[in-house]
């Protein structure tokens, strides 16, 4: 590497990492100085003996342990495994649940015959052994096809698919200390009929399967924009994850999550095709799932704090299942589709040059929550709460021959949420090191600065049929929405699988939802299934795009404390129940969730 030798680079990294770990171990600047660790000497110290102990305080957040030390940037970041279709499924999928064959679905498919699947997939949720770091033992996970992260689906608008989802998880008493082998897989962001959406109450058991029909159809196809839907509602980067009521945090932490890229004729996965947006494609279109985890300091095994009520923070940062990997790139543009895979952390990601901490390394944000913006926005950072996605374009040509880091600089000390401090460059969590060491190659992708438009934002001018208000609250440690708690209560007057909703939205109508968070100090990433919303206002002010991009079509809103946001919704096309919930999955599991339903006739409950 010109300018900086590899060894020197490692020393710099290690110094930053050790200082971060020591300060998270609760040692003050003065104590560090006393130990002579604020100067240069730290870089050469081995992670052994007294040092390992210093890095291993008995208590971290909320009484949990802190992880044993691991080396950084010694393994490559794996790419997602692309899921391959099967020729057919036996028995063939049916509209009504095939209970006799072992299907756990309770409700019939709404549009299976209208959108016949053109591809079939079979996926198995099962236990597997994976390595998250060469410094830790093999870890027992639950993964889709036994993979961490789960496989990547490559889907296209106009090409409906059906996924047969098998629960092959081990028996209850073989969960290794946490996790319930009862699951529901949510395709997060999909315009998916309720019975295939994977909501919290649609869980199925060991030995069962569940057919999930994804029509891959644009919102509005049966309402505002027949027959094909509104192109401006196109979704691009989705993910899927377990959503089992009360046990989502455990099952997600065990590994039950993957991603789903959805293409159309514009965002077409071919940077050489001038009819499309020419976004970096193929090898240069990279999915990244971020997670933070804790490992038992004695055994090095994955640790989950089963009695945490606030939110679980890890002290190890993983990208695509590896702790602090490196990723080798060519000096050209790449598209990254990044998801905050939880369980509870908020991130603000920057590109950091450890050899030039004062540099502002800019890149392009092209989506919020995986939905392309009206056009690319040049940014220095982006922020995500759990389940949020951001698509970004980084041009590595300016960094040829060098390394640059993906760094989270958002300070967060417990499950309550970020402190509000954005740390200085190099003081945060270095998560991925991009090594721009591969040879120059052709770049056919469009320069984001020259992209004038992706999609228009759908109009929010329509008058709402109703405005509803939701207060996100905590009393005596109990998470609530409008003072009430989650339950999946079967409606006694309807067939099994019909749950009592808290309120009914009228099909094909417009609503405004006001979300309020008056609780001192808690921040909630609030997710609403099925339709994208647009933020109309935050504390009465229209959302701005600086310093963080807040306009666009989203499905998660970061509800900061003492904040009120007003959202625009249009509920279209399908009927059925969906949840609204906090996506800090620990809050979600402790009842900060409700079910609502799209029905022929809506109700007028303004504070459901």
């Amino acid at each position: 590497m010109p300018g900086v030798s590899k060894n020197r680079q490692r020393e710099i990294e290690r110094a930053f990492e050790l200082r971060r770990q020591l300060s998270s171990a609760g040692l003050t600047k003065r104590e560090l100085l006393k130990m002579g660790l604020m100067a240069g000497g730290i870089a050469t110290l081995p992670i052994k003996g007294a040092f390992a102990k210093a890095l291993r305080p008995p208590v971290l957040f909320g009484g949990g342990p802190s992880s044993p030390p691991t080396r950084s940037f010694i393994e490559p970041m794996p790419r997602f495994t692309v899921k391959q279709p099967v020729a057919s499924l036996n028995p063939a999928p049916t509209v009504a649940p095939n209970t006799a064959a072992g299907e756990g679905r309770k409700l019939s498919h709404q549009v299976l015959t209208q959108f016949p699947p053109q591809k079939f997939y079979s996926v198995s949720q099962q236990q597997a052994q994976v390595s998250m770091s060469p410094d830790l033992p093999m870890q027992t996970i639950w993964g889709f096809d036994g993979l961490l992260p789960g496989p990547l689906y490559i889907a296209k608008y106009g090409e409906p698919i059906l996924v047969r989802n098998f629960n092959n998880l081990p028996p209850q008493n073989q969960n290794g200390g946490f996790g319930l082998p009862s699951v529901s897989t949510h395709l997060h962001n999909g315009h998916t009929p309720s019975e295939s959406d994977g909501g919290p109450c649609f869980f199925f058991e060991r030995g069962q399967f569940y057919d999930q029909h994804y029509p891959n159809v644009l919102a509005g196809f049966a309402s505002t924009h027949p027959p094909n839907g509104d192109i401006n509602e196109s979704l691009s980067s989705l993910w899927y994850h377990d959503h089992r009521v009360d046990f989502t945090s455990q099952n997600l932490y065990k590994g039950l999550a993957g991603m789903y890229n959805l293409f159309n004729n514009f965002d077409n996965g071919d940077e050489t095709n001038g009819a499309g947006f020419r976004l970096p494609s193929g090898e240069f279109d990279v999915n990244i799932m971020l997670n933070d985890k804790v490992f038992d300091p004695n055994t090095g095994l994955l640790f989950f704090d089963i009695f945490n009520l606030d939110g679980i923070l890890g002290d190890k940062f993983l990208a695509n299942g590896k702790i602090q990997p490196f990723f080798q790139v060519h000096p050209r543009r790449y598209r990254f589709r990044i998801v905050d895979g939880g369980p509870s952390r908020f991130y603000q990601m920057f590109l950091t040059d450890l050899n030039n901490l004062s540099a502002h390394n800019l890149f392009w944000q092209i989506s919020v929550d995986g939905n392309l913006l009206p056009k690319p926005v040049q940014v220095e950072s982006f922020r995500m709460g759990v389940a949020q996605r951001a698509d970004i374009i980084i041009d590595f040509s300016a960094f040829a021959g060098r390394s640059i880091y993906f760094e989270n600089r958002l300070e967060q000390q417990d499950g309550r949420g970020p402190t509000g401090n954005v740390l200085a460059a190099g003081q945060g969590n270095l998560i991925i090191r991009f090594d721009v060491v591969l040879p120059p190659v052709q770049d056919n992708s469009a320069n984001p600065a020259a992209i004038a438009k992706f999609y228009d934002l759908p109009s929010t001018a329509a008058t709402p049929r109703i405005t509803r208000t939701f207060r996100f609250e905590r009393t005596n440690g109990q998470w609530a929405i409008n003072g009430r708690f989650m339950s999946c209560t079967q409606d006694p007057n309807r067939p099994p699988g019909n749950f009592v909703p808290r309120f009914k939205v009228q099909q094909n109508s417009v609503e405004h939802w006001i979300l309020q968070n008056n609780s001192g100090g808690w921040e909630h990433p609030i997710h609403i299934h099925f339709e994208e919303f647009q933020i109309l206002s935050i504390n009465g002010q229209p959302p701005a795009n600086s310093p963080l991009v807040l306009t666009g079509r989203s499905d998660v809103v970061r509800l900061e404390h003492n904040t009120q946001v007003e959202l625009f919704f249009r509920f279209r096309d399908f009927l059925g129940s969906h949840p609204l919930h906090c996506h800090n999955v620990v809050h979600e599991d402790h009842a900060m969730m409700l079910l609502w339903e799209i029905a022929i006739q809506g109700d007028n409950n303004t504070q459901p």
Partner: protein, 184 residues
């Protein structure tokens, strides 16, 4: 491996016990000495919540709610399902006081109100995660955590729900950590 990690000699069940379930001695409202792990948790399906007899905030509602849960659980209460309500004010809540409280609320078999040494109670409260991250709120007993843990010690299945959640829903939640059905 550079970490001096020990291969795990303990099973995950033993690790969970080691980390979360100190085997402290408590007293029931019937003034019987019990060990927290050996006598109350081992091989059982349980609910655990914290309360105190003079609590005028969230406790009366939760106790009334748990009474409904107890009725829904029927004959299994006291057989393989047990409910534990641990006092946050052991100095005041003697076994005698708790016995009166249990009687007043018509708590049936299998539901134990527990007191003990203040340090042991505090250890349990911390180990079981009935704490608030705000130190001031954590000190204020009237704002104590009102959730109910439910779990199956043998199967290592643990979760929690709000103590004021619908009683039928709490009873259904407990069924998720139940023993596997014999058939199917």
């Amino acid at each position: 491996m550079p970490n001096e990690l020990k291969p795990h000699s303990m099973s995950s069940r033993e690790r969970t016990r080691d980390r979360y379930f100190p085997n402290v001695t408590l007293r029931t409202h019937q003034n019987k000495k019990v060990r927290f792990y050996d006598d109350l948790l081992k091989d059982k399906i349980v609910t655990i919540n914290f309360m105190y007899s003079k609590c005028e905030g969230v406790c009366p509602g939760i106790t009334a709610n748990l009474l409904k849960v107890q009725k829904l659980l029927g004959a299994r209460m006291g057989r393989d399902i047990f409910m534990y309500s641990i006092t946050l004010k052991p100095e005041q809540d003697t076994p005698k006081v708790l016995k009166q409280y249990a009687k007043m609320h018509a708590a049936g078999p299998g539901w134990f109100f527990l007191t003990g040494e203040p340090a042991d109670i505090e250890l349990l409260r911390r180990k079981l995660g009935f704490t608030d991250p705000d130190p001031e709120l954590d000190k204020d007993k009237s704002s104590h955590i009102g959730n109910v843990r439910y779990g199956n010690e043998a199967l290592q299945l643990w979760a929690a729900c709000p103590g004021l959640a619908d009683a039928r829903w709490i009873a259904e939640s407990i069924s998720w950590v139940d023993w596997p059905k014999k058939s199917g």
